[in-house]
Symmetry: C2
Subunit: 358 residues, 2 copies
Amino acid sequence: KDKFNIAVLPGDGIGPEVMVIALKILDLVTEFWDLTINYQVAAVGGDAIDQLGKPLPEETLALCKQSDAILFGSVGGPKWSHLPSGQQPERGSLLPLRKTFDLFCNLRPSPLFPELASFSPLHPAIASKGFDILTVRELTGGVYFGKPSLRQGHGPDEYGLDTMVYSRKEIERIARLAFDFANIRRGKVTSIDKANVLMSMILWREVVEEVSRDYSGVEVEHLYVDNAVMQLMKRPQDFDVLLCPNLFGDIVSDQCAMLTGSLGLLPSASINSSKFGLYEPAGGSAPDIAGLGIANPIAQVLSLAMMFQYSFERRDIADGIRNAIQKTLRDGVYTKDLVSKSESYATTEQVGEHILSY
Amino acid sequence: KDKFNIAVLPGDGIGPEVMVIALKILDLVTEFWDLTINYQVAAVGGDAIDQLGKPLPEETLALCKQSDAILFGSVGGPKWSHLPSGQQPERGSLLPLRKTFDLFCNLRPSPLFPELASFSPLHPAIASKGFDILTVRELTGGVYFGKPSLRQGHGPDEYGLDTMVYSRKEIERIARLAFDFANIRRGKVTSIDKANVLMSMILWREVVEEVSRDYSGVEVEHLYVDNAVMQLMKRPQDFDVLLCPNLFGDIVSDQCAMLTGSLGLLPSASINSSKFGLYEPAGGSAPDIAGLGIANPIAQVLSLAMMFQYSFERRDIADGIRNAIQKTLRDGVYTKDLVSKSESYATTEQVGEHILSY
Ligand SMILES: CC(C)[C@H](C(=O)O)[C@@H](O)C(=O)O
Ligand SMILES: CC(C)[C@H](C(=O)O)[C@@H](O)C(=O)O
């Protein structure tokens, strides 16, 4: 089982240029571990709108369906911001991909890299304690997909309406994964909800509590989302796995990413129950620096590593890639986002070459 | 028009002891400015549950209805956490009060006090720039009050459901207030939404954009909530007024409070269109330090100041109270929450006396 098909969707902004690096790493990995890997590139996001009229063309979706995993770059940019929300690059590609493949589990690791702690917006007294948080976000339910979702009425009475809904089984399957991860990490799950106000969140808390009974080795705590955003800034070192409903996970995972101060280093995985997954950098398409050769390719390469770990069950290869990146960071080979103003920095390509050299 | 009726609801935890201080200040204010003030105390929250069986007894509600404003302490604590969510002190008192009096506008100022900047969890390089953010949160709509809100079904298919809904007129009235505030502050409104995913939020953004056209002197920007929590940590100095739907305002106002590092100093106001208002500290009931005489009374006293400004239209008195507090802080008279570990601190009462001395 070392033959894999990968759909490569570079997308917009810095997506294509960091993808070039990830594919070079992929080539090297293929050779070194003697794998058979087929990858095919397809258009997505704004690029696909320009070429084919929609953010997720049928061809692209068909390719994804034939593949074992999707390596995703990033999508979106000012060029397409005039489009109605449903047709925008981000929403128009990511949401249907999540739903089509039932990618209900979104994983966003956000470790504070000690070498880079000075980039954290946190006070050194807090950052120096370090932290390593894994957000486990439910990705196919909640207010993102609840029906009805509509706009109705006229004049001042016109209203927009969304439905936040969770079923017991939706909550249970994501909760089990979160506890599984905590089990092989530091043994703590913090579930984030708003059970003091919302019915869907009361059920969320109940089910999480029930699931926790099957994991006697894992500590569980529940925080209201408003309190969670406060505690994450005050004592990030106290958290291990954050278990979140879709909307709160969107907020909290980005908060954790910013806490590390190194968004350009953070990968993400969105997987389903058959280990099919979509792997993408946590940061955005950064159109302002696209094409300048200064984008940080590490998040994209670490996304590739997550692909090997979760979809291909080749933790050895994932760790190999991560090692090369750790060494690169330890060598101080940083792109512009990670150096102080006046210092010199490496280009996207140079960082890529450096990773390859390991 | 200098005759005012105030409903005083001390509540639980540190509520009663900080309220004592606020009432002393109120007595002094009454005398100094020669006002006629009637205030009557009533039970709320856990205290009301213990005494009268429910968090918002009829007597208390009746008193509020006869009053021009409510001075609220804080509610909640572990003693009542076994109760079903609808009967809990916080939800069972605050939500019905907000709805009964149509308190649609929640104001949460969060200035970084320069003397106390070291308490901010932010990096000194960021905190040293200072910031002064006013969150304007819609408080009677959105997912907090949308119908249906229910739990249904059985077994794994059981689900909990909430409705996030906003009408054009609900958005418009809160948006106008936010722009009015920006007009007399630094002229910038940042509206926080999730218009890339939610229908209610698409309408939110549209209406905010429309309202902004009536305020040519005010700059408007729109941020998705996930991006907002990141930017608030990275560049808090860039924000003036944050305009938020109910749920996002809950999250973001607490984030801003934590950014100041001095939750014990922050008041809040929840007002309606006839200037009736509920005034309460932004922090919680802090049951762990209740009764020790070490709670910070300043947030409660500043809530009183907000009452004079917004409900009684006596900005002069509000400023008088704020001045006394500023002097107290400048004199270094701090309660325990604001001093470093080993330093000595003032009691709740001493801080009160010091404020009174001005
Ligand atoms: C682009 C948007 C639809 C998406 C989300 O809200 O889920 C993004 O913010 C994310 O977190 O992947
Ligand atoms: C207690 C709770 C219902 C309330 C809210 O969510 O609005 C609180 O967090 C607040 O911000 O006043």
